[in-house]
């Protein structure tokens, strides 16, 4: 067996209230390609960031080529030859490919930038990689795949020993992936050590020597690629006990209230589903599968969508959130602080905002009616505050979510889209939100829920639509629910 180049020993990272990495130990062999897999939030990115130096581990040591470090700094990491290609590129769009490759280390002659040498050197790198590219072109004229290759070349130009790639294939087309894989094989032949984060099983089996599986901040298992199959990897990724209990309720599921046919846009294609009265429809998938994107199209928040939408049998297509709200379709966004609540305004004004028409006569506000409506919501949802004139920004995440809910309940909403309803909310408040959601369904409202938390998805939904990279890969009925089934569909496999 080849020698260990990089070794993590008992790495932990503690955030307030969350243990993002829990005692992770992992050896990486020189020249191997290691796949790192896991669900959303399993700790892959945190692990990578401890290697690149952008996060300080709370405990543990990193051993690189026999030398021990208790943490890395970004400069140290780069100097040692650890390079990370992130999903978001660090490229300067208006500069040429060659200049991007040598940014920060441009070849100089007599104190001036030596453009000729820069171009020649860059050409050489791309030739070695067998990539056909015009290095004098500005980066903004390249396709995403080529931008990625520039990013890789940039790292190779600095004597990289360990190349870490964070879901490099996510934005690429199939053909572009092929180019990338050829480069990766090429690098591997030349002895490069590669850590490869991916959700795509095919790629993992094609390219990698070993696979390391993470879950809830822990390293669960590592396998040689020949001693494992897909089912085993998926089982290890999801094999968590359902820890939280979910409230149940007696509700009747009624007629179809919203039907979506071939909805496309924002990089998502042909999503079709029907939502029934009183139902919670889960929208599952990994980060980047297009769940939020397609809901924003449905809600009219983003334009450029196509397809058919039937609301209570009537054909509609919302061109703005205003139209959706008027028809009773509302969104509770994932990013509450930026898109949900107005932090600098009082609770009262937040709740009144979408209901101004009903609480004013012409232009004139009816403060008595406003107070009635707001106080009623505050009581109903048990919003914890000393006064409705308190600024929304001073409340906890759970109470802010309740304000977003309150403003819609005060309107005539009957279809609610919850995007990550309990993200950043503590356990007690989560239960409250779950109970509220069930109550709404019992009152005859319908809910579409996007969630990255597997147990929440299974515990709350009546049916689950699963997306994978902008496509719908399946619909699961309640009796088919299992973590394995969802994860299989969410990885683009079939059941």
């Amino acid at each position: 067996m080849s020698s260990v180049i990089l070794s993590l020993k008992n790495i932990s990272k503690q955030y307030p209230g969350v243990l993002a990495l829990n005692n992770v130990s992992l050896d990486i062999n020189e020249g191997e390609t290691l796949a790192l897999v896991g669900e959303n939030g399993a700790g892959k990115s945190t692990l990578i960031k401890t290697l690149s130096g952008s996060i300080l581990p709370s405990e543990g040591t990193i051993i690189f080529e026999g030398k021990e470090y208790d943490h890395m700094t970004p400069k140290q990491s780069a100097d040692l030859g650890i390079s990370v290609v992130y999903q978001e590129f660090n490229l300067m769009n208006t500069l040429s490919v060659a200049e991007n490759v040598y940014v920060g280390r441009l070849p100089m002659k007599n104190g001036l930038y030596d453009k000729k040498k820069c171009i020649e050197d860059a050409k050489k790198i791309f030739e070695e990689l067998e990539i056909d590219i015009d290095v004098t072109k500005p980066v903004e004229e390249l396709s995403v795949a080529y931008m990625q290759l520039v990013e890789i070349a940039k790292n190779l130009a600095k004597q990289t020993k360990v190349l870490i790639m964070d879901e490099p294939t996510a934005p690429l087309t199939e053909h572009e992936c092929e180019i990338l894989f050829r480069i990766m094989r090429n690098l591997k032949e030349r002895g490069m050590t590669i850590i490869f984060i991916s959700h795509r099983m095919n790629e993992i089996f094609d390219l990698c020597d070993r696979v390391a599986i993470m879950r809830d901040g822990q390293l669960i298992s590592t396998y040689g690629i020949n001693e494992v199959d897909r089912a085993k990897i998926i089982a290890d990724m999801v094999g968590r006990d359902m820890s939280e209990a979910f409230p149940t309720c007696d509700k009747t599921i009624g007629e179809v209230v919203l039907e979506v046919k071939n909805l496309s846009g924002n990089g998502v294609h042909n999503i079709s589903f029907a939502l029934h009265r009183g139902e919670i429809l889960g929208l599952a998938g990994l980060v980047g599968a297009g769940r939020t994107e397609i809901m924003r199209i449905l809600y009219g928040a983003d334009l450029g969508g196509s397809g058919e939408v039937y609301l209570h049998g009537e054909k509609v297509f919302f061109r703005s959130p205003k139209e959706a709200v008027q028809k009773g379709v509302v969104l509770l966004p994932e990013d509450r602080k930026r898109e949900g609540v107005l932090l600098s305004l009082p609770i009262r004004q937040n709740i009144a905002l979408p209901n101004l028409k009903s609480i004013s006569k012409g232009f004139l506000m009816n403060f008595k009616k406003e107070k009635e409506i707001v106080e009623k919501q505050k009581e109903d949802l048990k919003i914890a505050c000393y006064s409705v004139d308190q600024l929304a920004g001073t409340l906890s995440g759970g109470n802010q979510q309740k304000i977003v809910l309150a403003k819609w309940l005060a309107s005539s909403a009957d279809i609610l889209i919850f995007d990550e309803p309990t993200r950043g909310i503590d356990v007690g408040a989560k239960q409250e939100i779950y109970n509220l959601m069930n109550n709404l369904c019992m009152q005859g409202m319908s809910i579409i829920m996007i969630s990255s938390e597997m147990d929440e998805m299974i515990g709350m939904s009546d049916r689950i639509v699963v997306l994978y990279e902008g496509r719908q890969t399946g619909v699961l009925e309640k009796e088919q629910f299992s973590q394995e089934a969802i994860m299989t569909l969410a990885s683009g496999e079939t059941l």
Binding site: Y299, K322, Q349, S360, T394
Partner: protein, 330 residues
Amino acid sequence: MEKLKRVLSANATWVVLICLMVFFTILSPNFMTVKNMITVLRQVSVNGICAVGLAIILIGGGIDLSTGSQTAVAGMLCATLMVNHGWPVIPSFIIAIVVTALTVGTLNGMAVAYTGMPPLIATLGTQNVARGIAYLITDGYIIYNIPELAKVIGQGSIAKTVPYCVLLFIFILFVGDFILNKTSYGRMLFAVGSNKEAARLSGIPVKKIQISSFIVGSLFISLGGVVLMSRLNSGIPNVGTDIYIEILSACIIGGISSNGGRGNVFKMLGGVLIMGVISNGMNVAGISEYYQYIVKGSILLVSVGLDSYRTVIQTSRRSHVIRSAAKESA
């Protein structure tokens, strides 16, 4: 002692105002006279009416640097209608205000709402466009011989003590407060100024609100323009070239946030008076115009700086509160 501190900090603008008045009284014997105080009030009234307009724009999340040019266009338009075209006084006033607001205000609003360009740049552009229009109305000549009736609002007063324009300013303050705090439109303005995206996702027609905020604001600014014309007895195309800085400082000192979504026009009155006293006090004390530029510019820098800094502090404190609240409940 603690109580005194609290009272002082809650009324900081008024405390500063009193200090400034004492300062200028000591500096110049001509400052604290009945005649000069009435002059201050007249000056303050014009700027104050404009400041109510700017406050509406600021609260809606915009900013307007073209205020001075707008006062010139409105004044010139009004004067030329009366003097060169023989229009009656009242219709000339109304037409001048409405036309100026609908053109300059709409241009500002559309530029900001539809291109997404920063309002600072958009209104810097219209500042010059509008100034050019003001000159073109008479090819640069000043319009004299304003009808007697048209001078009343700027120069007349009740029993020779309380100027009409001061009463108008007070009335406009109430109108501004009514729009901002008593109407559903005002609510939407605060929402858009506070967080455009959240407002949009709440079903608020953000673009409409943005454009209309510039138009409504311009109505007040144009009104200020015709009152200024009346006070000066003539239509002057290069009038108000540097009042935009005074109006903006007045708003910010008076607690209208340059980051949008926060402010109250009655509290803003303090800022308007402070700027009026400084401006007049420096003139009366014979301080060179060059120094006046430095003083006014510095005031803007300091007031906007403090306002921005306060927002930064509040944001970090807010996230601290949320974090500790989360810790407690966890």
